[in-house]
Symmetry: C2
Subunit: 124 residues, 2 copies
């Protein structure tokens, strides 16, 4: 279950949008990440997980926050998982999810020209 960290975010990280034109490949990889976040439900899931005590949340916590069926939540979590934004780990009865802050930081760094703070987080 502990897959490798998403190669996706690795390549597409280090050239801010405004410095030089994105390569075709970079844009494809970046678009995958943005697409994973381009949904209100997934953004709230991400936020709920990231802001939850201990940095992790179980699916049961997440489901209650929405007027959606279990399978739908499960689907969105899968999208987030496959894009490398979160990881899920089963402990006993429940599955706990946590975010990969590095991926968010890389994404953030792409958007602004000289984001030293985010760059530090990235290389840490």
């Amino acid at each position: 279950m502990s897959k490798q960290l998403p190669i996706i975010a690795m390549d597409a990280c280090c050239s801010p949008l405004a410095r030089e034109p994105l390569s075709e490949e970079q844009s494809v990889e970046l678009a995958k990440l943005f697409k994973a976040m381009a949904d209100p439900v997934r953004l709230r899931l991400l936020s709920l997980i990231a802001s939850h005590a201990g940095g992790e949340a179980c699916v049961c916590d997440l489901t209650d926050a929405f007027d959606l069926t279990g399978p739908t939540i499960s689907h969105h979590l899968k999208v987030l998982r496959e894009s490398g934004l979160i990881t899920g780990e089963r402990r006993g009865t429940w599955v706990y999810y946590r975010v990969h802050p590095e991926v968010l930081a890389r994404l953030s760094a792409v958007l602004v020209p000289g984001d030293a703070a985010a760059a530090e987080v990235v290389s840490a």
Copy 2:
């Protein structure tokens, strides 16, 4: 043509994902912005415009970079325009586009917890 600045980015700007759960409304507004960027063509357009000399590029410059028809480029530019990420201005024969860096900065600030640099840009 010089519409108001996107209200979108105003509301959804100031609470990093990981600090507290996004409201339903915030997530909807943010998702619109991410959706606008969730396409390789639009990301490259954004990057081409942002990194172009003088901070602006005319459509003729952009079209050549893709194997796509004019209308398709036009469609993507419209999406970026309506999301508030770019503005277009006609000067004589050509239309010039430029990005709204504040919007990118706000988006960036949402992704990382304590992004002081981006926050400054925002309030500037």
